[in-house]
């Protein structure tokens, strides 16, 4: 590895950093101690939403700082927080209908289908597609398409009609999970068996076993094949 560095611009300030660093590590290399704009450092939590341009190119790029390697002449800023609208609701009091979506998030119907949200999504989600599904009241489709959303907020920050797409998606997924997914009969059955006490004696005997007996039982247990 050489000692080669490249120039990047952190909110306008030029710094020289090794070219293999992620944006987060480049910020730390440049002397920043992060509290905002950092979370899991693995691409799951959405804390490190970042916007950047390359010098001379008008194109805006959107990224997660922890999963993106720096490029020369990157002009970057982080968006650790953007005011979001979250409707007030209790899931248990809602119905899984289009009317619920439109009542809680009426701005859904302002969507222009411009696609700016899809362009901003660092998870490559077709946000426009799930907002279109929301406009049709198709909760299951919103849930499916939006599943990988980490609520980084970049879509909402860019939306010309001021939507908070990821909260529409979250509500839709919760509605689907509770009301629209098929019921698991075997799960309900098992819960009933536990409540009835069907396993109490067996568990009690396992708890009372000494280490050696338990070990033997464990070593000889049968294993469900793949």
């Amino acid at each position: 590895m050489t000692d080669q560095t490249i120039p990047i611009y952190i909110m306008g300030q030029r710094v020289e950093v090794p070219p293999t660093l992620t944006i987060i590590k480049a910020l730390e290399y440049a002397g920043y101690t992060l509290t905002r704009g950092v979370g899991c450092r693995s691409g799951f939590c959405g804390a490190c939403a970042t916007v950047y341009r390359i010098k001379g190119d008008p194109t805006l790029h959107f990224a997660l700082a922890c999963q993106t390697v720096v490029v020369p002449n990157m002009y970057l800023a982080q968006i650790p927080f953007f005011p979001a609208r979250r409707a007030d609701y209790r899931l248990s009091e809602l119905e899984p209908t289009a009317a619920t979506l439109f009542t809680l998030y009426p701005e859904i119907l302002r969507c222009l289908a411009c696609g700016t949200c899809s362009k901003a999504c660092p998870q490559e989600i077709d946000v426009r597609a799930y907002m279109a599904a929301a406009m049709r009241g198709d909760i299951a489709a919103v849930a499916d398409i939006s599943f990988d959303c980490i609520a980084c907020g970049l879509c909402s920050a860019r939306c010309p009609v001021e939507e908070t797409q990821y909260n529409v998606a979250l509500l839709s997924r919760r509605l689907y999970g509770r009301y629209l997914a098929p019921r698991s009969a075997h799960l309900e059955q098992r819960i009933e068996e536990i409540r009835r006490g069907d396993f109490n004696a067996k568990i009690a005997s396992l708890k009372a076993m000494d280490r050696a007996s338990l070990q033997q039982l464990y070593n000889s247990r049968d294993i469900e094949p793949e």
Binding site: G31, L34, T35, S42, R90, G177, H186, R190
Partner: protein
């Protein structure tokens, strides 16, 4: 960032053996073989990596140096100087930590009549829960039972687990799945409603429930949203970690001191019960290992609880996840879920040969990978000197049909695709990474610690998993015991009064440190790891002097 020439040459060998390996099941180890590989190659067994703690109720117990440093460390506040003023917040239950356990505790405490304040160091949801991928265990299938689950948990934990805690874990499990579904979690299911469940390391039944490979994130974002729905009774305060618990000087926990990370102000919380749900400690980087953990995993809760006399358990052992990403360097140490092996991938060495059964328990699997690289010299070495072995992911589509990987592992596919690697067509490089704190603050089945007013749930607790946790039992742990802690804490709070707010216990701590010959050291809890590179002197005083 895609593979080097040498790597591609090795991948060619993996591809050459793939067809044959489809029908090859590498044998599981015998108990003796497992013991041996652990003893010789697992990081826990390196004597010099740990030392006995020199003060407190666990004096003499061994733990890694990095953890001992913070546990033995000086407090931020000097009891001779700092006096907690009037409380800024008064609540029934204070929940410390905004992960799965904290959120579950807040919900159950509220349901049991408590006013709750939930404080977090970073954002609500910034926790290891958010990053858990593969699944959550529960004996929901007809061919399974809580008793079988119990046996798997005990065996995985080397029979060191606390039986009462394991009983609670496995017996609550199916109800927890149902509870999460009621809150809106979307579990993978077949069209007829049957849960799609898989094996994990050390399981004898396929009882891993999942939400694609975003299981933790799906659970976390639902729990977080439900907490937000109850904002009338649950208040959330972000960027305000606890730096010290408050006691009444008679052994009861009565609240906490917060440090606002942004305004640098101290705030006083008065509470009738405190739930510690501060998670793990991967950012202490034991033995210099990379970690899967989130930025704030620095053992804060263990430090706080130990100072007020709580007992710790099983901290001589840490869990290394066998498959952390080993290439490219930018994602070193990040989690590659066990689910990849659960649905068919195999581990291969540089010659394209299997060398271990893919689903041994994590400690055994990790030790086997370390052995393959270190002793047998069959690892692949990256340009930065990092050893690794192949995880042959393309096998999955061969076994289960094209498109399986994309559908079941979207997060993993995306993670590698960002760096030019298509894991549906090429194997990925992996190596053990520091993942989970098996032990923590000792609790009973009601999450009590023996210190009145102090409850613990989740990764910060010890005893549930013995000396090795199974995949899918951590997500289960945080919800089962988060709920129990919330319930217990609310019950306790509503029958208790408010106590005096002091940091008098720090006088004892100071004296104990002196007696143990301990001087200086970084104030604990450390709150965040130190990754900042400074090339110039740094000003220590406040930027603008406080004149008030």
């Amino acid at each position: 960032m895609s593979y080097t020439e040498e790597m591609l040459a090795s991948i060619a060998k993996v591809e050459a053996t793939r067809q044959a390996r489809l029908s090859q099941t590498f044998p599981r180890m015998t108990p003796d073989e497992r013991d041996e590989v652990l003893r010789c190659f697992h990081p826990d067994y390196i004597e010099e990596m740990a030392r006995p703690i020199r003060l407190g109720v666990n004096a003499g117990d061994r733990m890694p140096h990095e953890l001992a440093d913070v546990i033995e460390g000086p407090a931020h506040l000097d009891p001779a100087v700092f006096v907690p003023g009037e409380p800024d917040f008064i609540c029934d239950v204070l929940v410390v930590g905004g992960g799965g356990a904290g959120a579950s505790a807040a919900l159950l405490a509220e349901e049991n009549g408590a006013h709750v304040l939930l404080v977090t160091k970073l954002r609500f949801g910034d926790a290891n829960t958010m990053m858990a991928q593969g699944g959550i265990q529960a004996a929901s299938q007809p061919n399974d039972s809580p008793a079988i689950h119990y046996l798997d948990v005990m065996g995985g934990g080397h029979f060191d687990n606390a039986p009462d805690l394991v009983e609670a874990l496995v017996m609550d499990a199916p109800e927890v799945i149902a509870w999460l579904e009621q809150l809106g979690v979307m579990f993978d299911k077949r069209p007829d409603g049957t849960m799609s469940t898989a094996h994990g390391g050390g399981t004898s039944r396929k009882r891993m429930h999942s939400a694609r490979d975003y299981t933790g994130a799906e659970i976390m974002r639902v729990l977080r949203d439900e907490v937000r729905s109850r904002s009338d009774r649950i208040q959330v305060l972000e960027f305000n970690p606890v730096i010290e618990l408050l006691t009444d000087g008679k052994g009861n926990v009565t609240g906490a001191i917060l440090l606002d990370l942004e305004t640098r102000e101290y705030r006083v919380v008065q509470a009738r019960a405190v739930v510690i749900a501060t998670g793990g400690s991967g950012r202490l980087h034991y033995q210099g290992f990379a970690t899967t953990n989130h930025y704030g995993a620095t053992a804060d809760g263990l430090v706080l609880a130990y100072r007020v006399g709580a007992r710790l358990a099983f901290l001589h052992t840490m869990q290394y996840h066998p498959t952390g990403a080993a290439y490219p360097e930018q994602i070193l140490g990040q989690l590659v879920t066990e689910k990849v092996r659960g649905i068919g991938a195999q581990l291969c060495n540089i010659h394209g040969e299997q060398f271990v059964y893919p689903l041994e328990t994590r400690d055994v699997e990790s030790a086997a990978i370390i052995r393959e690289c270190r002793e047998r010299g069959n690892g692949i070495i990256t340009p930065t000197g990092q050893p690794g072995v192949w995880l042959d992911s393309p096998l999955i589509d061969l076994i289960r049909g094209p498109g399986t990987i994309e559908k079941a592992l979207p997060a993993m596919v995306r993670q590698f695709r960002r760096f030019g690697i298509d894991m549906t067509r090429q194997p990925i490089l992996v190596y053990p990474t520091l993942h989970y704190q098996n032990g923590g603050i000792a609790i009973d089945a009601n999450c009590m610690t023996g210190i009145p007013g102090l409850f613990v749930a989740g990764e910060a607790s010890g005893g549930v998993h013995g000396t090795n946790r199974l995949m899918g039992n951590s997500l289960l742990d945080v919800v089962v015991f988060g709920r129990r802690a919330g319930h217990s804490a609310a019950e306790y709070a509503l029958r208790s009064g408010y106590g005096e707010l002091t940091i008098n216990h720090l006088h004892d701590w100071k004296a104990a440190r002196q007696q143990a010959g301990l001087e200086g050291g970084r104030p604990a809890p450390i709150l965040l790891p130190d990754y900042t590179r400074h090339t110039h002197p740094v000003r220590e005083e406040p930027l603008i002097p406080v004149t008030r």
